[in-house]
Amino acid sequence: MSSNSNLPSMRRLVEQLRLEASVERIKVSQAAAELQQYCLLNATKDALLVGVPTGSNPFREPRSCSLL
């Protein structure tokens, strides 16, 4: 995407790029490992992933009991 061709815009763009260039970056190996770790550590709490025991599902309609 090209930026505006006027001077103030260009100055702002350069300032912005300076800021973005200066951020600290960690290694992807660390970032990826931590994402994976977070997923695995929280998997058992993730109802959409592992489901919930029938009795403790608040959205499920309770089954009626019939006394025979």
């Binding site: 930026s3 800021l19 951020v23 970056r25 660390q30 970032a31 993730d46 959409l48 029938t54």
Partner: protein, 359 residues
């Protein structure tokens, strides 16, 4: 050399620097890192509740932090607050403008907000003394449509707009505190992480930006999408963002390594992504598409592991509750009975109403 030429050269040099810096930390890839992890099994979600009541297309929905209530906005000119467990409507709020595009629930549960083609963000107090829900504030300053809004607290809200900016507002005074300018196209979506110190925005300039709320700086710009970024969400640990685009892909960008880690795409998917939400652990990504299907992705393995589809299940918005128990989709569908998906005992709910072509 004129200043303009000097600046151009410096800009190019800085862009090269950023590219090089990103490359320098790219010592691994996400696929390599997770190569020994198995793909999750097929995910099949069952409709548990249907929230009926809107009379036109539902454009947006947002969960309350209690994971029981949610708010939805429809172009029938109503905001409805639902109790998702009982399916009761807690509030049905008539709007001044029916051209609503977004809605939000305050973390406290005290307020909801909405906005759209009226260019305003209207704040409603749900806990007024006499029990009536009234407009508390009308935040007007954007010169384009309101695409998204998210509360930071009862006194601050962030909005994104078709005027290419995002704004931080003081709700008490109804005035703008901070302007976040830098996007070169309509801002389509925004997301706030758990610490409320930053936010991310997706825009029609094909990028996503990370902003520092207090000093208004954009600290990271993520490119890679080949079309508008319509949807954006934080990965649950706050260290990554997921985006959905008109280029038919979703991407995961890591904030601390400042780069894209993976793309979620399939050659059979050719339509744009309209909404996106991660599951509680982040392992699943639910993405809504222009063909009104929802694809469920394994976020680590980048494989599609499920679909919320029925040919009349047309999804326009999606949200996962804060406790991760349920996913709510807003859709438009006429007179159909509730859908049932066979399979494991996961939870899904649908908001349904009449079918109406829009835009």
């Amino acid at each position: 050399m004129g200043e303009m030429e000097q600046l151009r050269k410096e800009a190019e040099s800085l862009k090269d620097q950023i590219t090089a810096a990103r490359k320098a930390v790219a010592d691994a890839t996400l696929p390599d890192t997770v190569s020994s992890t198995a793909v999750v099994g097929r995910v099949q979600l069952k409709t548990r509740k249907t929230l009926r009541g809107h009379l036109a297309k539902i454009y947006a929905m947002h969960w309350a932090t209690d994971a029981k209530l949610c708010v939805s906005a429809s172009q029938d000119g109503k905001l409805i607050v639902w109790d998702t467990l009982t399916t009761n409507k807690v509030n049905a709020i008539p709007l001044k403008s029916s051209w609503v595009m977004t809605c939000a629930y305050a973390p406290s549960g005290n307020m909801v907000a909405c906005g759209g083609l009226d260019n305003m963000c209207s704040i409603y107090n749900l806990k007024g003394k006499d029990g009536n829900v009234k407009v508390m504030r009308e935040l007007a300053a954007h010169t384009g449509y309101l695409s998204c809004c998210r509360f930071l607290s009862d006194s601050e809200i962030i909005t994104s707009s078709g005027d290419c900016t995002c704004l931080l507002w003081d709700i008490e005074t109804g005035t703008q505190k901070t302007t976040f300018a830098g996007h070169l196209g309509d801002c389509m979506s925004l997301a706030v992480p758990g610490d409320f110190k930053t936010f991310v925005s997706g825009a029609c300039d094909f990028t996503a930006k990370l902003w520092d709320i207090r000093d208004s700086n954009c600290t990271h710009t993520f490119s890679g999408h080949e079309s508008d970024v319509n949807a954006i969400a934080f990965f649950p640990n706050g260290n990554a963002v997921i985006t959905g685009s008109d280029d038919a892909t979703c991407k995961l960008f890591d904030l601390r390594s400042d780069q894209e880690l993976i793309t979620y795409q399939d050659s059979s998917i050719m339509c744009g992504v309209t909404s996106i939400a991660p599951s509680l652990s982040g392992r699943l990504i639910l993405a809504g598409y222009d063909d009104f299907n929802v694809n469920i992705w394994d976020s680590l393995k980048a494989e599609r592991v499920g679909v919320l589809a029925g040919h009349d299940n047309r999804v326009s918005c999606i949200g996962v509750s804060t406790d991760g128990m349920a996913c709510c989709t807003g859709s438009w569908d006429s007179f159909l009975p509730s859908f049932s998906f066979k399979g494991q005992d996961n939870v899904m709910r649908l908001c349904k109403q009449n079918k109406q072509q829009y835009l």
